[in-house]
């Protein structure tokens, strides 16, 4: 029931070397990177339209907020019926959870751009795409990064749940395999890997991103 620490580390190490765990990491990371990227792009685009057109805000905006409260894995049964029990379904749920979050954060970021900056930009002759690219987007970066962090968390959870239920390779499936074979050491090894990946992404990637912006903007002193 509870394997010893040495047993776990042994399985972990072997799994990394012989490829069992390494392959699973690759599969999972591939899925989440793809899904996450799509979510960012779609989220920014939707966020733009909701911010720009009041009509869209009143209709789509409201829907997005409602959809955001649905946990990503809840979409899985629907995805299976629509797309079948395959890679695409898993990608679907990974993307969908993050998309609503990115949309909400993007809209919020765009809305909170101080009117002063907008006035300055207009006075110097900026408009249209230039205005978006040089003022709205940079000014929203702190909020967007904040959204990225949350979106990643949702995507990651969706990914693990999807792989656990759906199979098709990846860390989640490895968990299920470990369970069905009674290999608790494998299960715990995978859990350790999941924790490590999560920590690296949050502490290395996002924290660093956030800190760079804060130092540049002067919100945080150079530590």
């Amino acid at each position: 029931m509870f394997p010893s620490l040495t047993q776990v580390l042994d399985t972990l190490f072997n799994g990394l070397i012989n490829g069992q765990i390494t392959l699973a990491i690759g599969k999972s990371m591939g899925r989440i990177l793809l899904g996450f990227t799509i979510a960012i792009v779609v989220g920014l685009i939707l966020g733009y339209f909701i911010w720009r057109y009041k009509l869209i805000e009143d209709t789509l905006g409201f829907v997005v907020t409602a959809l955001q409260s649905i946990p990503s894995i809840v979409w899985f049964p629907l995805a299976i019926i629509w797309f079948g029990l395959n890679d695409f379904s898993i990608l679907f749920i990974v993307t969908i959870g993050a998309t609503w979050t990115m949309t909400v954060n993007a809209t919020s970021g765009f809305k909170n751009v101080p009117q002063l900056y907008q006035r300055v930009a207009k006075v110097y002759g900026s408009s249209g795409i230039h205005f978006l690219r040089t003022v709205i987007l940079p000014a929203s970066v702190p909020q967007i990064i904040s959204g990225l962090r949350i979106a990643w968390a949702f995507s990651w959870r969706a990914l693990m749940a999807g792989e656990l239920l759906g199979g098709g390779g990846g860390l989640g499936q490895l968990l299920e395999m470990g369970r069905s074979l009674g290999q608790m050491d494998l299960v715990i090894s995978v859990m350790i890997i999941i924790a490590i990946i999560g920590t690296i992404v949050d502490n290395v990637v996002f924290s660093r991103l956030e800190r760079n912006v804060e130092v540049k903007w002067g919100i945080r002193k150079r530590a």
Binding site: L116, Y117, V120, V123, Y124, G125, A139, K216, W217
Partner: protein, 280 residues
């Protein structure tokens, strides 16, 4: 006349859905290369007028022309220096100053050279690659002025640019602004609530009445030929303007405090019931 403001009227709808008339028939002409200030109590519409000249807002009636052309939208020919500088925190000082030039598709090297020139004029050459948060309020405002000047505008519109700064910084920036004005001969349209500042800097002071905003009087500021004005003349002009504004200031205070506030005698008059006759 370089800048003509003709019969401008502007109203806003306030929170209580009432129509508030902010500007009631403004007529003003400004010569090219002159330095004109607008002085008035808070809420008299002077900033609104500046926004209309900038093209950031549209008047209900009347028209504004610069060099004969109708003002319809904002543009770098009528660049604005805002009270809070408004530098983009994600850009360096140099990038902030070249923002407008890049928009005009000026080649990078040329834009950089021009920016460095104008930053030298405002004495910020050492901070060219700093980020705005590393600068003091006065320095930020200098960058804002540099950014505006590098566009070689028809008119420099300044919306209470020094109001948020301390006295010493303001004194330094006054001198710098006057130097720049004499050197570049740019037309300056300057908004302030500070009478002394208006008299120190401009050639003409337009005194505004409030609620609704109207031009009450235009006071020319006497300057000696060598540019140095004796303090007594400055003081005299200030007093003149203050006495014109007194009525307007009392109007604002009465609205805000509610009682009869007498500006000169400096006491609160609480109506007849509290009057024990001590003033007889």
């Amino acid at each position: 006349m370089y800048l003509t403001i003709d019969g401008i009227q502007k109203s806003f709808v306030n929170d209580r859905k009432e129509n508030v008339k902010v500007l009631d028939g403004i007529n003003l002409n400004v010569k090219k290369g002159s330095f004109v200030s607008i002085v008035g109590p808070s809420g008299c519409g002077k900033s609104t007028l500046l926004y209309l000249v900038a093209g950031l807002d549209k008047a209900d009636n009347g028209e504004i022309r610069v060099d004969g052309e109708l003002v319809s939208k904002p543009g770098p020919e009528r660049v604005v220096v805002f009270q809070e500088a408004g530098l983009f925190p994600w850009l360096t000082v140099l990038e902030n100053v070249t923002y407008g030039l890049n928009l005009k598709k000026m080649p990078k090297e040329e834009a950089k050279a021009k920016a460095l020139d104008v930053l030298k004029m405002v004495h910020l050459s050492k901070y060219v690659n700093s980020y705005p948060h590393e600068l003091s309020g006065g320095m930020k405002q200098r960058v804002s002025i540099a950014r505006a000047l590098v566009m070689e505008p028809d008119i420099l519109l300044m919306d209470e640019p020094f109001s948020a700064l301390d006295e010493q910084t303001r004194m330094v920036l006054h001198k710098e602004l006057l130097d720049i004005w004499r050197k570049t001969k740019v037309t300056i349209f300057f908004i302030t609530h500070n009478i002394r500042e208006a008299v120190l800097l401009s050639e003409e002071v337009v005194v505004f009445a409030t609620r609704p905003g109207r031009i009450k009087e235009i006071i020319p500021v006497p300057t000696m030929k060598d540019g140095i004005t004796p303090d007594s003349v400055t003081l005299n002009t200030e007093q003149r303007i203050l006495s014109i504004l007194q009525e307007e200031i009392e109007k604002v205070l009465k609205e805000e405090i509610g009682d009869d506030y007498s500006f000169k005698t400096d006491h609160l008059h609480r109506g007849d019931s509290g009057d024990m006759g001590s003033h007889i």
